[in-house]
Symmetry: C2
Subunit: 302 residues, 2 copies
């Protein structure tokens, strides 16, 4: 497939994801309209919509039809957004800008930043639970139930939030190990990607083998994505990357690259990316889009 | 029933609720143990366990048997606790003590306070979703699904969190109206009590009439509870109340009492409490415990 064609297909999928997300965002009105506005602002502030695109593609790939996966696609983007909103808070990373726009707390105040994040997290589960309204038979119901469990598990203390905790606690502390770095990447980044690919497969009725394979693909992609982030922080330029480089060195941050060296890091990204592609190629169905997406997310230059 | 007997029964139910909560709290270990410890600290810091007691009693009253309601009982206390943890944050009420103990952020730092609240909220849904593992037939599955929807709805922007938003925004602003005060009480306080009584009935398989009645009982109790709070802030003493009185006057806070006067407020608490008791008395089954609980929560002196 030509790279131009893939780019076009990706843009189409992002647009599809954005339509789904918008359809499930609560209307901005009522006495609590400020928090609804802050929630909408946070979600619509941009982003690659990677997780909903992966979730919907995984659903299709496993033979899913209709709109059962859409509430979950919207929900996973709300959870991703809530994590950014809370990470940006003064007590956390204290960031006033993200993607060139004011962060939620910078625009709406700190209290509303906390509440908008809480609101998005809660509304994500309210949204996902709407999938139950589409359930036509007990089999569907069981799938939605399992998808809810995976969503909560991968977002919480044993997933994304757990990774954020380890990351926050490690900051400025000596003794960062490779094991800990990989654990942070696995939880903070990979867990929600795992949820995306797993939930798509679960809702489509895939068997356990396929669901586990999707988890493996997502884990490899998530970890490779983060190591590549550390690589680009050294090898790229601000023009290409769209953000200042060298921040890890300035913050004396221990990364996969500082511990293993550049060559080993580049090799590891390629290995993980290849591992993910291999698993995908063994699956039935047209996995080309997903394989290309894996390549774009891992062996990338920005 | 003698008041001594009721006290004994209440204590027994609180103990039951605490056992359920403890059983569902995640173990404190692993690399993310700090947040798990902060979550446990927050939940076990005390409290009346009102919501899980109401949820389990409503389940029993509608003929529910077995342990299907237990994950939800634990979940609703986790959600209540997360709301307290985030309300206490410096950007919100900035409270360093609650029930004589350090608040979560005061003990673990602000970042961990935010993360422990997020962790509890997410884990609440993970816990509630465990009820699906107990589902034996499609009917059970449908009930658990509906209970999940109610839980998320009553906790979020259209429930408790929405009330907190209106409350935060009204602070120090002129023009507080009776409508707004009642809206804050309905959402911030009543919504989670509504969820408790409704979810118990839903899981037990009660019909829609009963579920709506439970919602009405809970709303009356929630609003009466808050008006009584405002009354006691004027009429009680620090010794009886266990916290300083007169805080509303000091903060020049507009309350139901300042708008309607003391006599009308006392009458409204009695009216709401009577309304709740009337609905309960019309229900089949032994509603004495629930009726007494309603009395204790509304027409109370501390």
């Amino acid at each position: 497939m030509s790279s131009e064609h893939i780019e076009q297909q990706l843009q189409q999928r992002v647009t599809e994801a954005e339509q789904v997300i918008s359809a499930y965002l609560p209307p901005v009105d009522g006495m609590q309209r400020t928090v609804l506005e802050a929630m909408e602002y946070s979600v619509l502030a941009g982003g690659k919509r990677l997780r909903p695109v992966l979730l919907l593609e995984s659903y299709r790939l496993s033979g899913g039809e209709g709109t059962l996966a859409e509430p979950f696609a919207a929900a996973i983007e709300m959870i991703h957004t809530y994590s950014l909103v809370h990470d940006d808070l003064p007590a956390m990373d204290n960031d006033r800008y993200r993607r060139g726009k004011l962060t939620t707390h910078a625009k709406y105040g700190e209290a509303m930043g906390i509440l908008a994040g809480d609101g998005l997290l809660t509304y994500a589960f309210e949204t996902a639970a709407k999938a139950f309204d589409q359930v036509k038979d007990p089999t569907d119901g069981t799938r939605v139930a399992r998808a809810m469990q995976v969503l909560a598990n991968k977002a919480g203390v044993y997933g994304m939030l757990g990774g954020q905790v380890i990351d926050v606690e490690s900051e400025g502390q000596p003794g960062m190990t490779l094991e800990k770095i990989l654990q942070i990447h696995t939880l903070k980044t990979a867990a929600l990607i795992e949820a995306s690919l797993m939930i798509g497969a679960i809702l489509a009725g895939a068997d356990d083998t396929r669901i586990t394979q999707m988890e493996q693909v997502a884990r490899a992609v998530g970890i490779a994505f983060q190591i590549q982030d550390d690589i680009l922080d050294i090898t790229s330029t601000q023009e290409v990357l769209g953000k200042p480089i060298g921040s890890d060195a300035r913050n004396e941050k221990t990364t996969y690259v500082t511990l293993r060296g550049m060559d080993a890091s580049v090799r590891e990204v390629k290995r993980l990316s290849g591992e993910a592609a291999d698993i995908l190629r063994q699956m039935p169905g047209d996995t080309v889009f997903l394989e290309t997406l894996v390549q774009m997310l891992t062996v990338r230059n920005h």
